[in-house]
């Protein structure tokens, strides 16, 4: 199987061709918004972090921001800093260059003498960059260049029965053809992590899967949050879920059945192809942001209740097995999997159709969230701001 993508100088293949206007800190975020609004083909992301954060949080911020610049869907980046933030522009340049050799410019608001001067220079740079980017042509590449991100959010009874098994089938097919499939949301594993761990390709990977769940539980206990007691909830039981294992399996199933070859930290890039797991919160937006920072060119997002979420840099393909939701939120839902629930088609049949759609989106078909220009971002935190 093949798809049409943009070959980047760092060896990766993108399915979109964005110029990224990237703020190193919250203070540069608005300036980036204005720059991107002046140049067609340039996108900004909103950044609320990058300063007044503990080292642990700073490292996470840096991993996500540099990951965005390195994502293959990005042609090149214009980095904007304020000048006094703790996540220094020079350090961001160094970290980005470790990940990719794609075009990168840096401007510092305090050095340029204010936002208007910075916007002036950046718009000129961005205009040149989008023209260069427009010369890139898609080329046919092997499916093994694809890294699919998998997410679930706004789940209902149809998620674990229909949407997630269908996406699991897509995941298995992609992995069998040599591509990479990434699942995350550690919160959702809890209850069936011992089952998920069995998918680990080695004893060490199995141990890591259990460990990331234990670490999350320990971390949340510190603020008196218990993820296990009371699960499944009375609402879950009413909806047909009898044990926490059953509930958690319904989520885990979206990642398919193939061996897990790597367990990644938040926003870390995989070094292997195949099925991988990234340690992220269950919070959709923080999880999708991390997987895209980790290099996913496309995310398939299963939902029962419906959600409008999208990302500036990568298509987020919204799928649901709930027919009512598909009809009710048609402007936000991309693909209808409900034939599985109403018994008209099997999981593997619908899964194959969804894989066809994934390839079409990879080749250039835009999702509904992309048509609206929706860009949701959140970066995980380990503690309070300073």
């Amino acid at each position: 199987m093949r798809f049409l993508g943009y070959k980047r100088p760092d060896g990766k293949v993108g399915i979109r061709n964005h110029v990224l206007i990237l703020p190193t800190s919250a203070c540069a975020s608005e300036t980036c918004r204005v720059i991107a609004s002046q140049v067609s083909g340039a996108v900004n992301i909103i950044n609320q972090d990058g300063c007044a954060e503990v080292k642990g949080n700073e490292e996470i911020t840096q991993a996500v921001l540099s990951g965005f610049a390195a994502n293959p869907n990005v042609y090149g980046t214009i980095l904007i800093g304020l000048g006094c933030e703790s996540n220094t522009p020079d350090e961001m340049v160094r970290i980005i260059k470790e990940k990719t050799n794609k075009p990168l410019h840096k401007l510092v608001i305090q050095e340029e003498g204010g936002t208007v001067n910075t916007i002036n220079k950046a718009v000129n740079l961005a205009q040149k960059m989008v023209q260069e980017a427009s010369k890139c042509m898609r080329e046919e590449v092997n499916i093994d260049e694809l890294i699919l991100g998998i997410e679930c959010g706004g789940s209902d009874s149809t998620s674990g029965l229909g949407a997630n098994p269908v996406v699991g089938h897509v995941s298995d097919r992609l992995v069998d053809m040599g591509a990479t499939s990434m699942m995350s949301e550690t919160t959702e594993f809890i209850g069936a992590e011992h089952i998920l761990a069995k998918r680990g390709a080695t004893p060490e990977i199995q141990r890591q899967i259990i460990q990331i769940c234990k670490d999350l539980e320990d971390h949340l206990f510190m603020v008196n949050q218990d993820l296990r007691t009371g699960q499944p909830t009375p609402g879950n039981k009413e909806g047909g879920l009898s044990t926490i294992e059953e509930k958690s399996l319904g989520c885990i199933y979206k990642g398919g059945t193939r061996p897990v070859v790597e367990v990644l930290k938040y926003a870390e890039q995989p070094t292997k192809k195949g099925a991988v797991i990234m340690d992220t919160p269950g919070y959709d937006i923080a999880s999708v942001s991390a997987m895209i920072a980790g290099g996913c060119q496309i995310v398939v997002f299963t939902t029962g209740r419906g959600t409008p979420t999208g990302h500036a840099l990568a298509p987020v393909l919204k799928v649901t097995a709930n027919k009512k939701t598909f009809e009710n939120m048609k402007d936000n839902m991309d693909f209808d999997l409900s034939e599985v629930i109403v018994g008209e088609k099997s999981i593997s049949y619908i899964g194959d159709k969804l894989l066809d759609e994934v390839i079409e989106v990879a080749n250039g078909k835009i999702t509904k969230a992309e048509a609206f220009g929706f860009s949701d971002i959140a970066i995980n935190r380990i503690c309070k701001y300073i």
């Binding site: 009874s157 149809t158 044990t243 199933y253 593997s348």
Partner: protein, 100 residues
Amino acid sequence: MKANGILLDNKDNVATTTEAIKQGEHVRYFIDDSIYSISAKQQIPSYHKIAIKDIEKGEIVIKYGEIIGAAIVAIKKGEYVSHLNIKSLPRDYNKEIKER
């Protein structure tokens, strides 16, 4: 004929309904591309489970090809399976980390 239930894995001993089932009605589900049918001995709400084989007291209940719990009473083929007649198996998290 349309299915009104889902079997998630060929190893499963329960199927899940996708519509409300009256006592005596049939639950139909796909295995690969063929439809199988089982008669419901009790009323079963939408998105709840039906036993597709006899399950003895203490026997494991399998869904998604995995153990979701064990029966706390004997369950006959065609009967309603819920949090009232199955329970999670006890676990030792520390042991699971050390064992690997």
